[in-house]
């Protein structure tokens, strides 16, 4: 199993551009999450999904959108990128039920200039 994979690893965007961060998991997990990590701030939840077709906002959803058309994929869309979205983005998945461990991908480092 590859676990949770994320692409791209690095990206530089200009202000106002858009992009999609890809996340795929091969563990058949129901729950998926997107976090952003900023220095000294820990990880903040952007969006999460409890299953295909169901998504909900986390702590910091503004400027982002998600979709969950399949169990495996949970892309994060940035529209009109802003410098404040410069961060490292992590996708995670969890089986659900009594399984609380979240499995994280390797992250995408995004810079908006």
């Amino acid at each position: 199993n590859a676990g949770v994979t994320q692409t791209p690893k690095f990206r530089i965007l200009k202000i106002g551009q858009s992009m999609t961060l890809q996340c795929t998991q091969d563990m058949n997990h129901n729950y998926m999450y997107w976090y952003r990590q900023d220095p000294g701030m820990g990880l903040k939840l952007i969006y999460y999904s409890v299953g295909a077709g169901i998504t909900d906002k986390g702590e910091v959803p503004n400027g982002y959108n998600v979709s969950r058309s399949t169990t495996e994929d949970f892309p994060l869309r940035l529209e009109l990128a802003a410098p404040s979205q410069t961060s490292v983005y992590f996708c995670a998945s969890r089986s659900g039920g009594t399984g609380n461990e979240q499995f994280f991908g390797p992250g995408t480092r995004l810079t908006v200039l």
């Binding site: 701030m41 820990g42 990880l43 939840l45 909900d56 994280f104």
Partner: protein, 115 residues
């Protein structure tokens, strides 16, 4: 009330020392408290977790101490090794009801263990 406060921000110890990282929370609905370990350039990985019905949990050299009345919990690393140098995050969530697994993370502690 949703915050988890973590300290210290950074920590340097000698090999064999016992670094201690502390976290405090306010939301009494939290009932699951994991610690994640993150190496540079990698995603976080679960290290150890505890529920409030026990005051201590050990896994190898890693121990969580939990004080429910004080709403605090801490991570102790026994006989620390240079390979333990990483960033450590505490987190908390409520598993009641729908158990969406929404973790609230602390700010992180960067640990350096000197040889």
């Amino acid at each position: 009330q949703q915050q988890v406060k973590q300290s210290p921000q950074s920590l340097i110890v000698q090999k064999g020392g016992i670094p201690i990282i502390n976290c405090a929370y306010e939301n009494t609905a939290f009932d699951y408290f994991p610690w994640y370990q993150q190496f540079p350039g990698k995603g976080p990985a679960l290290l150890i977790a505890i529920r409030p019905d026990v005051s201590e949990k050990k896994e190898g050299r890693f121990t969580i101490s939990f004080n429910k009345s004080a709403k605090q919990f801490s991570l102790h690393i026994m006989d620390s090794q240079p390979g333990d140098s990483a960033t450590y995050f505490c987190a908390a969530c409520s598993t009641f009801s729908s158990n969406t697994g929404k973790l609230i993370f602390g700010q992180g502690t960067t640990l350096q263990v000197k040889p």
